[in-house]
């Protein structure tokens, strides 16, 4: 069979795309999972987490920002790429202060789910133990920067969907951190609401809604029931908004 001109190949599998789509868009549409943390269909891609790195033409590109091109041969689910993905996940674990057993997000956390998906058994690198500020000023929303992975999802959600521009990332290198767009720098002084996409899109336990801790018992949470490669194929901002 001769493939159409608008076809890419991911690990040998033929995948159609429409011009303008990224490799990630085409893969998700064809139910092919490429690991990702900072990407959420419906929001503009960022390309910062680097979990979705795939190999094409001898180099590695981030699937969420690379344009699909006719005939492109892409390697995705390979031992080398998955090893790199695990190292990157371990980097995120040691950079922040992640406390899975006592984190309210456990079972609903994408970082944790990614670690399970990749078969991560330890953090490998030495922990950075960075001091990071907590913001508990808002009546309904808590911000614990210790668990932030700088994925920029809340920044984009607040800017592009909520239209409130509550968050930004500031600082360079390992000093990069989430900041809040108010004179006091506190969440309480922003228009953010618990129903905003920015308040609920956090893949980890950095932004938590207050007063609902453990409403869903551990064992019955998202990734207790399904794997991240299943849920990752079905996410879309429009769906997320309906669920709210």
């Amino acid at each position: 069979m001769i493939a159409g001109t608008n076809t890419i190949y991911i690990d040998g599998q033929e995948i159609p795309f429409t011009p303008g789509q990224t490799v990630m868009d085409a893969a998700l549409a064809a139910s092919v999972y490429i690991p990702h943390l900072c990407h959420y269909p419906g929001l503009p891609p960022s390309g910062n987490c680097r979990l979705c790195m795939v190999e094409t033409g001898g180099r590695n590109v981030a699937a969420c920002i690379a344009q699909a091109a006719a005939g492109q041969e892409i390697r995705n689910n390979t031992p080398e790429l998955n090893a790199a993905r695990m190292a990157i996940t371990q980097m995120l674990f040691v950079e922040g202060n992640h406390i899975c057993p006592s984190c309210e997000k456990t079972g609903n956390c994408k970082l944790q789910a990614m670690a399970y998906h990749l078969g991560m058994l330890d953090q490998h690198f030495s922990q950075f133990y960075q001091h990071r500020d907590i913001d508990a000023s808002h009546p309904d929303i808590a911000l614990d920067r210790s668990r932030c992975i700088l994925c920029d999802l809340c920044v984009r959600a607040s800017r592009d969907i909520d239209r409130k521009n509550v968050f930004a990332i500031a600082g360079r290198g390992i000093d990069a951190h989430l900041i809040v767009n108010s004179a006091s720098g506190k969440l309480a002084d922003t228009p953010i609401a618990a129903t905003d996409l920015a308040a609920t899109i956090c893949p980890v336990g950095a932004i938590l809604i207050k007063e609902q801790g453990y409403r869903v018992p551990i064992g019955q949470r998202i990734y207790d029931r399904r794997t991240i490669c299943e849920t990752g194929l079905q996410e879309h901002i429009a769906q997320q908004r309906r669920d709210q």
Binding site: N48, A84, A87, V94, F128, R172
Partner: protein, 580 residues
């Protein structure tokens, strides 16, 4: 054209006036520029030369480069000055008199240890000069009353070729271009084989052609004068003595692509060059070489504005530079689209190195064959090198492409070099076995930095310096670079402290590959080169420090430091006896 002051300039003025950026000034800037406060705060946090805590009235920043850094013959000049002025690095003295810290390479590598005092460079530091500086700071003598000769920066050119031998008559390239037309001028540039001098080597004529062929309302010409690669200082010479040719080359590019506005993005460390660059621009305007109807051409208006950076190596990456021009943190964009089609304000933008524009001006005057006669087939013309480190004649050398490393080392009087770093920390580390290789785009490519390391130099110290540089300069956008550069630094520091295990060799290899292959931009792609090069060529550098196959990766006593801080107990009982 924008008439409002650039956001970076506003913030620089505030920093100078208040010695920091106070919250209300950020708020005011956000209001005036109609930006979210968080964007102004992100800009302030991104650039090294802005601070949110007051710096001293004498704000001293030592360069920490291997060539113009503060470690000189076993002495730590930064620590010495701190002791003399009774202060500690990174903290402003209680009476606000002085703050002392370090900064990435300030481009004074041919002048030995150097510092910026309130933004102005002082070179050739030694113990005697340091004592005199300390005295003046103590006596609170304003910097403008310090000896004038301390601030003189002499450019030493040891070899001149196509670009440095003679200055073309100002306006001659433009006259030539106007008489033969934009199309023919571009054809000549293309025929010359000119490639970008920043190091990446993209075909300059092709870049200009692409921009010319792209539809867009406005086009921009941008000169990348943000030479932040440690060991590079050739643009310092070019901006100082060859600015006419630079402006001419930019104007030429504008004529070819149809731009009316140009920018020079000048690194903050070279702010001292700003007044003379401004007056040179003014002189060109008065001669009809810039501004409206250049040389009475009816349809050609073009002017150049200078934007001064604020201490961020990443802004040498062209899309980060454009972000910075737009008043944002310098985070590299997603590419494609490339600046040539979607650059400044989303418009077609040509970004070239200082040297590239100068070469284009010369090519227009002298022709493509004149240029191609020098260099090699794939690398036409000459390359201007900044040579520093362990050599008798540091300075500027212009060679035809294809020159061997050995030739350069001989000419600069380097005796028995154990290694050279070509292209700065992001380039290639090469040992004697590679000294017969040539400098060319298809062999060893360089933006101009040549760092020579003699036998007395400990390579592990060099690696730690480079690793620290990248960790400090990583923009923090992507995980492998943000965390990986820090992990590389930590691993090398551990090895140097005698806490490395043989497994760390494999660790460096793996980590290096991840940073190199998975990062978002050129900074990450090249940040581990020096370590990977060394593992191949100098494998003994790392295991030499290792005591056994297994060593604890952390210092147990050091790990208790935070406990001691919290409990406010620091007596013998709060320490482990490591020797038991």
């Amino acid at each position: 054209m924008e008439t409002r002051e650039h956001l970076l300039h506003r913030l620089q003025a505030i920093q100078r006036q208040f010695r920091h950026i106070p919250p209300q000034a950020m708020q005011q800037a956000a209001t005036d520029y109609q930006l979210p406060l968080s964007q102004v705060a992100a800009v302030v946090a991104f650039y090294s030369f802005f601070s949110t805590q007051p710096r001293g009235r004498f704000d001293i920043l030592f360069s920490n480069c291997t060539s113009c850094g503060y470690l000189v013959e076993g002495e730590n000049l930064l620590q010495i000055l701190c002791r003399q002025l009774q202060t500690v690095p990174g903290k402003t003295r209680a009476d606000d008199l002085v703050s002392i810290d370090e900064t990435s390479c300030i481009g004074m590598c041919d002048h030995g240890a150097s510092m910026l005092v309130n933004g102005i460079p002082i070179t050739g530091l030694n113990l005697e000069k340091l004592a005199r500086i300390a005295q003046r700071v103590t006596d609170a003598i304003p910097v403008q009353h310090w000896p004038v000769e301390w601030f003189a920066i002499v450019d030493t050119v040891h070899r001149r070729d196509l670009l440095l031998a003679k200055h073309p008559v100002p306006g001659s390239a433009l006259r030539q271009a106007f008489s033969q037309g934009a199309g023919e001028t571009l054809a000549i540039i293309r025929r010359s084989g000119l490639r970008g001098r920043g190091g990446a080597g993209f075909d300059t004529g092709k870049k200009w052609q692409l921009s010319r062929d792209t539809s867009g309302n406005t086009r921009y010409v941008v000169c990348n004068a943000d030479e932040g690669e440690p060991g590079t200082f050739k643009d310092r010479l070019l901006l100082h003595e060859y600015a006419e040719e630079l402006f001419e080359g930019m104007t030429l590019c504008a004529f070819i692509i149809g731009a009316t506005q140009g920018f020079i993005y000048l690194r903050g460390e070279y702010r001292y060059l700003l007044p003379q660059l401004q007056s040179a621009l003014k002189r060109r305007r008065s001669r009809g070489l810039l501004g409206a109807r250049i040389l009475k051409q009816r349809n050609f208006d073009f002017d150049i504005a200078i934007v001064v950076g604020a201490g961020a190596y990443i802004c040498g990456e062209e899309s980060a530079l454009i972000e910075s021009l737009e008043g944002k943190p310098g985070i590299p964009r997603i590419r494609p689209p490339f600046p040539v089609t979607h650059g400044y304000l989303g418009q077609p933008t040509v970004v070239n190195n200082v040297e590239t524009f100068i070469a284009a001006a010369h090519i227009t005057v002298h022709g493509a064959d004149w240029f191609k006669a020098a260099g090699t087939t794939a690398s036409a013309g000459t390359k201007i090198l900044s040579v520093s480190g362990d050599c008798g004649k540091p300075g500027i050398y212009e060679y035809p492409f294809g020159v061997t490393i050995r030739q350069v080392l001989d000419d600069c009087a380097a005796v028995a070099a154990q290694a050279v770093q070509i292209g700065g920390p992001s380039g290639a580390l090469l040992g004697p076995a590679a000294f017969d290789r040539t400098l060319a785009f298809d062999d060893v490519s360089t933006g101009g930095s040549v760092l020579v390391f003699g036998q007395q130099h400990d390579l592990l110290t060099i690696h730690r310096n480079f690793a620290r540089f990248f960790a400090h300069e990583s923009c923090g956008f992507c995980t492998p670079c943000r965390v990986g550069t820090q992990l590389l630094q930590n691993t090398l520091d551990n090895i140097a402290a005698g806490r490395g295990a043989t497994a760390d060799i494999e660790e460096l290899q793996q980590l290096g590959k991840i940073v190199q292959r998975q990062s978002h931009c050129g900074l990450g792609h090249t940040a581990a080169n020096h370590v990977l090069d060394s593992l191949r060529q100098f494998p003994q550098v790392f295991p030499n420090r290792m005591r056994s196959p297994f060593t604890a990766r952390f210092d147990l006593d050091q790990a208790l430091a935070s406990t001691r801080r919290i409990t406010r107990q620091n007596d013998a009982a709060a320490h482990l006896d490591q020797h038991k």
